[in-house]
Amino acid sequence: MLTAYATVLAFMLVAATLVSGSLLVARFVRGRRPPTAPESTQDVSDAPESAPHPARFNFDPRFCLVAFVFVVFDVAVAFLVPVAVVLKRWAAESRGTGVRALIEVFAFAGVLLLGLAYARKNGDLEVEATAGGASPPTTVPSDDDPA
């Protein structure tokens, strides 16, 4: 089994090497040229009024709430996975053990869904585009060139 994880490590190392190698190659291929353009990522042609401002994300703090609920459900999924793995064996053993396992799983999932219902009822999962702003139209037609 250690070999398997050594493979994982090998893949990660090769990926990291590829990225750094490409960057090195790019540097050599480019040659040395003094930078002529400003290093800021803000558009140079901006009018003075829209001078670059320190980026703040005016977004709904509910993103954080979503992340909390995600962590809870992630842990729940992490526990459901080993149960899912052995359910088939429990079902094969006898009808009784299968039903017992089923009831345990349903109880677990049911309790979790109560939490989700609570969150939903209180509108915690309704993340808004801009804090306190009205929502713009739902969909936007995509007609641009695929890059």
Binding site: A6, P61, L65, D74, P82, R100, E104, G115, N122, A131
Partner: protein, 175 residues
């Protein structure tokens, strides 16, 4: 051809990764750098789990800690800090440095002495085996009650976190 113990090398490398990242978490000036260090620590620990044949735990460590906890942390930081404030958000405290230094040295000395002098009992030889099925059987069998109680615990966590955060959201609704 060298006879290299790959598991030993991996252990040392993971230890360096974990401890180095932990140092970054502690000493970095920017909270975001600390978060990146935390990523290193969590990945290192996941690696240790894999070395110790706890493969399921390694995957869950990445899934829940890196994918969940670290993401929550990053969201929280990004929501509240501007870039200017973020760069120096983790400044070390100026007072009490010397006392802290001496305490650290004393503690380090004590720990090293303990580590070297204790006769550590050797554990049984590790057999590399998968663990997911064992956990599943345990969760459905002997540990069924903790499994269900865990669901209740998660429910409590959800409700509690949302209740606390919701009031904070309402209070601090202005960006």
């Amino acid at each position: 051809m060298a006879r290299v113990d790959i598991a030993g090398v991996a252990f040392v490398a993971l230890a360096l990764l974990t401890l180095g990242s932990a140092a970054i978490v502690a000493f970095a000036r920017s909270v975001m750098h600390s978060a990146a260090g935390l990523l290193g620590v969590l990945c290192g620990v996941a690696g240790f789990y894999a070395l110790l044949s706890a493969d399921f735990l390694a995957a869950v460590q990445l899934l829940v800690y890196v994918g969940g906890t670290l993401v929550v942390f990053l969201f929280a930081v990004m929501l509240t800090l501007t870039s200017a404030r973020a760069a120096s958000s983790n400044e070390p405290i100026a007072t009490g440095r010397r006392a802290a230094g001496w305490a650290t040295i004393a503690l380090a000395f004590a720990l090293v002495t303990i580590a070297l002098d204790t006769i550590w009992p050797l554990g049984e030889k590790l057999v590399q085996l998968p663990t997911t099925a064992k956990l599943g059987h345990a969760l459905l069998g002997p540990y069924a009650l903790p499994f269900e109680l865990l669901a209740l615990l998660l429910l409590a966590t959800t409700v509690g976190a949302l209740a606390i955060a919701r009031s904070a959201v309402k209070v601090g609704a202005e960006p």
